[in-house]
Amino acid sequence: MGGGEKWSRMFARSVRDVLEGLSLEFEQLQEIRMRVDAPLFLWYGNREYGVTKGGQLGQAGREGLRRISERELRETVECMGNYSLYAFEDEIRQGFLTVRGGHRVGLAGKAVMENGNLKTLKYISALNVRFAHQIKGCGEKVLPFLFEEERLCHSLLISPPRGGKTTLLRDLVRLLSDGTETVPGRNVGVVDERGEIGACYQGIPQNDLGARTDVLDCCPKALGMMMLIRSMAPQVVAVDEIGSREDLEAVEYAAGCGCAVLATAHGGSLEEILGKPGLGALVRGGLFGRLVLLGNGEQAGRVREIRDGEGRLVWNGIFDG
């Protein structure tokens, strides 16, 4: 849906007409937020906009912005789920669904509980679409710093939400898989639990992840890492957004199997990561040989610093992903 297929097709007809009338450049589009009876907001070129009733981009705080009706939101959710929300039960339970193109749609509504567990969401009243962009080459400058004596270190990419860590991970996977002038290509296994890295459609990655990459799509990370190591013998295992105890155990397992692990985690700084119960202990224990800290809001994909497993600076400055 990114380049080839039109991204606006995931929206209900009336919203789609409005968005198409704005003539947006997809590469600049970061996020769209819809709430019932509230204005339609867009993050475009690192700025927040609303859409006026006349169908123009307007300042987010202004009056006279076009509001989203309950029907538009409902139709959009149905359209995003290909009229098959039953197929996204597990994802909806986690509050999101990933649509074709790898774009992630976060959902909010009324939670339906069963035996103390969340069964589903109903009366969905708000959603935000975070657009996935494949930026080829954004990992080229970072890649050499992930090696130590020609060995690829276990690396953790850290950024707050919308910081560009998944985009960077995707490009690092591609570079490691295809190889570069200095780095030979290697087998990479990707566990794509949320379908954001490869944006698989019917099992086939729509993003370029390199010629030697095997993708386990929509598979829980902990289970997928074990499966890949046993079945596909990867030299590198890549996963997005680790955090749970099971994920961390699987990362430790993978790291102990001779695979290099590339992972991402949410965090605004190294201190925040060190303060997390499970992940902090792993980082303090020096499992990750490289910690790559990305931008803090002003520009997605901006790498601020790279540290080694003991917290020493390997590189700092700014380069844009």
């Binding site: 007809r13 149905e78 359209c79 290909n82 098959s84 039953y86």
Partner: protein
Amino acid sequence: MASLMARTAGAVLVLLGAGGMGRMFSSRFLTRLRLLEEARRLVYLLKGEILYANSSLDEAFCRAGHRLGGRMGGLAVQVAERIGEKQGRGFGEIWREEVKNLQDLPLSKEDLGQLEEFGRQLGYLDRQMQERTMLLYLEQLELSIRSMRERRQEACRLYTGLSLAGGIFFIILMC
């Protein structure tokens, strides 16, 4: 003499026409039975795709349609394509329009109504609901197919016999 020959030729043609009409009615009956059996196979395939492979409706219709082939397979592929086009319309609307395209087939109003209702309920709520919707439609199909199978020989004979009898009656009237 010429008049007798013309009458005989006319009678033979009427008989042949009547026989042909009988064959056509039988064939429509058999085609309807075959279409209902195809619809049943389509639902079985959809059931597998949705319940076992957790496929979304477009994936399920596309794969089941290609596997099944025939007119019902064509319907499924067409529906999958329409979903894929993402025209921003509801699934019920897409389904209704595609079912309308089957009106040239020898399906009864009741068959088309049941088929339309089946599609209207698909996609609603969870997987259990999909299963129930498919089971309900399968049950309706089973009843129709069973009843048609029981009547098959009798109906085919009746269509041919009545048409021929009609033809003979017409010849008698004309003579």
